[in-house]
């Protein structure tokens, strides 16, 4: 009798923890630190040149305004998203401290991204080039150093999506943990992460091998529950706390994102605008398009993951979640690397390299056309002589 708990067959795809890159713990952290240092320096210099970023400054002021030990309870309504607000309270240095924290996070995101690609049998050169296509863009620098909340959210979403793929296709419960917790934490960083968690749960229902058996249906339902539970519990718990301590279920959510559910111009017009905006941003992420095509060629049903992801971004923009253009572009770029299937053939690799070049070219060439905040920020840095002209 084989035990149901007998260890699973380790798939070649995403052997989290079993195979790490770099192998030793301290080397991994050293790589993360080394990679993050330029971004930390950039955060510091950008702050010196152009003053604190608006997003980080707003987060810092929101955090500083909370008097949680005062005996009053109303502060709960201003404490969403709790994770980034807690971080803003903890990190010294106000908005600049948040910019440096964002810079440090880049090290972790970049190391995890390269590790993921290497574990999927992508060559080191291709992995570095693919990562560079996202990292060596002004939009990435901008989000990392100017919007800590957005960067932390997209980093957590990247980790959660990686786990989700492994959980769905390889049934690794560790990855299930990572996916669920990643989505849950992201939801506590930004409400915009919630649609991704819902889509992730739905993906486990519809995108999985062996569709028919009754037991398989039970498994999918259970998998969807496991993916969604942390986000649902976090939101429900937070809603309950604010209801009991302030009398409103939703005030802190709406306070954090005042544009939520406003639908300027009507629901349909908002939807069209959101779809158009995302379509526009997709131009800056050709690697994602190629990744989707590769996924479709390997396993047609899994291409739904790409569509669901893009659908989530549209849904976020439609309901008014504060996803800025640069954040969407970086998110699309990072997710492309998450979704890239394993064992890329030579012709596919060539296509990817072309897309990498295109993506980097567009990131610089099309900056002033689409990403005004990044263009302004870059212009300020150029004026201050911090970027090569």
């Amino acid at each position: 009798m084989a035990s149901p708990a007998t260890s699973l067959h380790a798939p070649t795809f995403l052997r989290w923890r079993a195979q790490r890159w770099p192998r030793t713990n301290w080397v991994r952290w050293a790589v993360r630190l080394a990679v993050s240092l330029p971004f930390v320096a950039l955060a510091d210099l950008a702050n010196a040149a152009g003053g604190p970023s608006a997003a980080n400054d707003l987060l810092h002021r929101q955090a500083a305004s909370l008097h949680w030990a005062s005996g009053q309870l109303g502060w709960v309504t201003h404490a969403y998203p709790p994770i980034t607000i807690a971080a803003a309270r903890l990190f010294p240095g106000g908005a600049q401290g948040l910019a440096i924290a964002g810079g440090l996070c880049t090290g972790i995101l970049i190391q995890l991204t390269i590790e993921r690609l290497l574990l999927r049998a992508v060559s080191v050169l291709t992995a570095v080039l693919l990562t560079a296509a996202v990292v060596l863009t002004p939009a990435f620098w901008f989000v990392a150093t100017q919007d800590f909340s957005a960067f932390l959210t997209l980093s957590l979403l990247s980790v959660a999506l990686t786990g989700l793929l492994d959980f769905t296709f390889n049934r690794s419960t560790e990855s299930g943990f990572i996916a669920g917790i990643g989505f849950g934490l992201a939801t506590m960083c930004d409400l915009a992460a919630l649609p991704f968690a819902v889509a992730g749960a739905l993906a486990t229902l519809f995108v999985a091998p062996q569709a028919r058996a009754v037991r398989e249906i039970a498994r999918r339902r259970a998998a969807a529950t496991v993916v969604l539970f942390p986000s649902a519990a976090a939101l429900a718990g937070w809603a309950f706390l604010q209801w009991r301590f302030s009398g409103s279920w939703t005030r802190s959510f709406l306070g954090a994102d005042p544009g939520l559910f406003r639908f300027p111009g009507g629901a349909w017009a908002s939807l069209a605008r959101a779809a158009s905006s995302v379509g526009h941003d997709l131009v800056f992420a050709p690697v994602l398009v190629v990744a989707a095509v590769l996924m479709f060629s390997r396993r047609p049903s899994s291409a739904m993951a790409c569509l669901a992801f893009v659908g989530c971004v549209i849904a976020d923009l439609w309901v008014g979640a504060p996803l800025s253009g640069p954040t969407v572009v970086v998110l699309l770029g990072v997710v492309a690397l998450v979704l890239l299937p394993e064992r890329v053939r030579a012709s596919e690799r060539a296509a990817l390299w072309v897309c990498v070049a295109l993506q980097v070219g567009l990131a610089y060439g099309g900056l002033h056309l689409a990403l005004a905040p990044v263009a302004d920020w870059a212009h300020r840095l150029l004026s201050a002589g911090l970027l090569p002209n």
């Binding site: 560790e174 299930g176 039970a218 259970a222 496991v226 539970f229 942390p230 309950f240």
Partner: protein
């Protein structure tokens, strides 16, 4: 010194031939047994007895003839106990001999179950300091005689052996002097604080309870996360097990302590017969209390195979499972030893998996723990919750503890030991009602290690609420005992095991009962916020205290729900995933048991709350219906 060993025949008939000549064995059966012997290397007699082909008595009678040695039936022969005074019963059990009485010529008649060669006779004579004359008997007779003649010694060793060896590692005394002083001081200070500053004290207590609960749960959650990394790590593979040859397998002792379990003891025979291990290399000791005639009758009625020996545990207090196990340990001959409950269904290759794990580990690894799970998981709400709990505990928690090199509190059954190492550790503490958890921690405290294997034993989940409370109150009381025992000398503990292990032990073994004790106050606060609102109690509970307490409760419960969900998901019991949402109610049951345990720790610290088995009505899962 005169030594009279029988003059062994120069050419004796082989045992098999002698048995055939006497009509006790057929040639085909002999052929089969010889085939087994070629594979296992075991003695032919042992193979025939274990297979039930020839009665033990017949084998030894025939052997006695071939040894040219009279046979003595110790069940009807009185033993002169004055000859036993200076002998070590354990050594007698291992060497399989016992003095019977003095002969008229001044020599001593020795019953032996081993070939009575001259060297053996000389060695025995040297031990006794008297001339000896050897006669044959069965190994069963010798062990039974040892059990009867040394009942007092065995009982004393089983009960007070650990206490004598190391008083501080025994739970016989609940609190040490220093602990008593500290406890009184804490109580006095707390009482004074509540008298002088009731509100401030309440605030501090609330915050401590809330944060303590969260820290305890967070620790478990982190360990489970680490444990989940090892999902792909198969410590022992089927190939590893297949590579073991029967020839190299050692004698394995299985201890089965049972008390008032007549309804499941029959199934035990069927469950153990499924073990893939040569029967002649198995020694199964069914440990029954003297007053438990019902189980004894049921065991005999089940016609146990010859590998099973029914051992009567001498009466005396405390009447606990660990005391029975110590008696079993005293008599055990196996190089390795495992403990199973009467209703257990171990996976057939579990003994071999344990051997592979021992073979890979260094000598410091005294034990490997197999996973436990339930065969009647779907029976009712309680069995479902039990399954959720065990799934995360054995599939995530223990592998996580092992990976983090933290002390592992052993689970009630399916702990496999190196027998010698277990004896060195002092066996089980009969005064500790979770002797298994205590042993795991004691191993760590003494620098030994415990591992886990991904093999499962299926048990019967408790399906009755009163029975559940009884069982849990014992477990929680045992955890409290274990905490008190091992924190008697905290500085020494830190010095011996390091900060990490000490902290891990404190959070796991001490934190678990505390978190159950903390649940009712937290639920009360939660109810207050629900019913009267936080502003009404703001005088006693400032907003932030209430907020932190309720947040800790919510976050802690969410984490426990989540690990429970993942545990059953890993076990592929998908329909149980949503049952994890009932975990807060399940914890309330634990809290009831925890307060009962706390009370019992004060008034009846060594009382063993008996868990009834065989209550399942899940017909498909009934252990007595294979």
């Amino acid at each position: 010194m005169t030594v009279v060993a029988p003059a062994l025949a120069r050419r004796t008939e082989p045992l098999g031939t002698s048995l055939i000549e006497r009509g006790l064995l057929s040639p085909a059966e002999l052929e089969w047994a010889l085939g087994i012997q070629r594979v296992t290397g075991s003695r032919l007699g042992s193979i025939l007895i274990a297979a039930g082909l020839v009665r033990r008595l017949d084998v030894y009678r025939v052997l006695s003839e071939s040894w040219n040695c009279p046979f003595v039936d110790l069940t009807v022969t009185a033993i002169d106990r004055s000859l036993l005074t200076r002998l070590d019963p354990h050594r007698l059990a291992v060497e399989l001999w016992i003095p019977v009485h003095r002969l008229s010529d001044g020599s001593v008649l020795i019953a032996t179950a081993e070939r009575p060669e001259r060297d053996r006779a000389q060695a025995i004579a040297a031990q006794l300091g008297l001339p000896v004359r050897l006669v044959a008997t069965t190994d069963w007779d010798i062990r039974r005689a040892i059990g009867q003649c040394f009942a007092d010694v065995i009982l004393d060793e089983a009960t007070l052996g650990l206490w004598r060896r190391d008083e501080d590692h025994s739970a016989r005394r609940v609190l040490s002097t220093a602990q008593t002083v500290v406890a009184i001081a804490v109580l006095v200070i707390a009482a004074e604080a509540f008298l002088l500053a009731p509100i401030g004290s309440t605030v501090i207590l609330s915050a401590v309870i809330g944060v303590g609960f969260l820290v305890s749960v967070l620790f478990k959650f982190i360990v489970c996360m680490v444990g989940s990394r090892y999902e792909y790590t198969e410590s022992v593979t089927k190939q590893d097990i297949a590579a073991l040859t029967d020839n190299e397998l050692p004698l394995y002792t299985i201890l089965v302590p049972a008390y008032r379990e007549a309804n499941v003891v029959g199934a035990l025979m069927a469950n153990l017969s499924r073990l893939e291990y040569p029967p002649d290399k198995l020694e199964i000791l069914l440990l029954l209390e003297q007053d438990d005639d019902e189980t004894r009758r049921a065991a005999i009625a089940a016609r146990p195979p010859e590998t099973v020996t029914i051992v009567t545990v001498p009466p005396g207090q405390p009447q606990t499972k660990p005391k029975a196990c110590n008696v079993g340990l005293f008599l055990a001959r196996g190089e390795f030893l495992v403990i199973y409950d009467a209703e257990d269904r171990p996976e057939p290759d579990q003994l071999k998996a344990a051997l592979v794990a021992f073979g890979r580990a260094d000598e410091r690894q005294v034990c490997v723990q197999a996973a436990l799970n339930y065969f009647n998981a779907g029976e009712n709400a309680l069995t479902k919750m039990f399954t959720l709990e065990y799934s995360f505990w054995f599939d995530y928690m223990l592998p996580g503890l092992e990976a983090m090199r933290l002390p592992i509190p052993l689970g009630g059954t399916s702990n496999h030991f190196r027998t010698d190492a277990l004896r060195r550790l002092g066996g089980w503490d009969p005064f500790n009602v979770t002797e298994d958890a205590d042993l795991g921690i004691r191993s760590a405290a003494l620098g030994e290690t415990v591992g886990v294997i991904s093999s499962t034993t299926f048990e019967e989940a408790n399906n009755a609420y009163r029975n559940f409370i009884r069982q849990r109150s014992r477990w929680i009381k045992g955890y409290l005992q274990t905490t008190l025992v091992h924190l008697r000398h905290p500085v020494e503990l830190v010095r011996a095991t390091g900060w990490t292990k000490t902290l891990g032990f404190a959070l796991l073994v001490g934190g678990t009962p505390l978190s159950f004790l903390f649940v009712p106050p937290l639920y009360l606060l939660f109810a207050i916020t629900m019913i009267v609102g936080p502003k009404s109690v703001a005088r006693f509970f400032p907003g932030w205290v209430l907020w932190v307490s309720v947040a800790c409760l919510i976050v802690g419960n969410a984490m426990m729900i989540y690990v429970s969900m993942m545990g059953v998901f890993k076990r592929r019991r998908y329909r149980l995933v949503l049952w994890a949402l009932a975990n807060p109610l399940y914890w309330l049951l634990h809290s009831i048991a925890a307060y009962k345990a706390l009370w019992q720790l004060m008034v009846k610290p060594h009382y063993w709350e008996k868990t009834e088995h065989g209550l399942t009505s899940d017909i498909a899962a009934r252990p007595d219906l294979p």
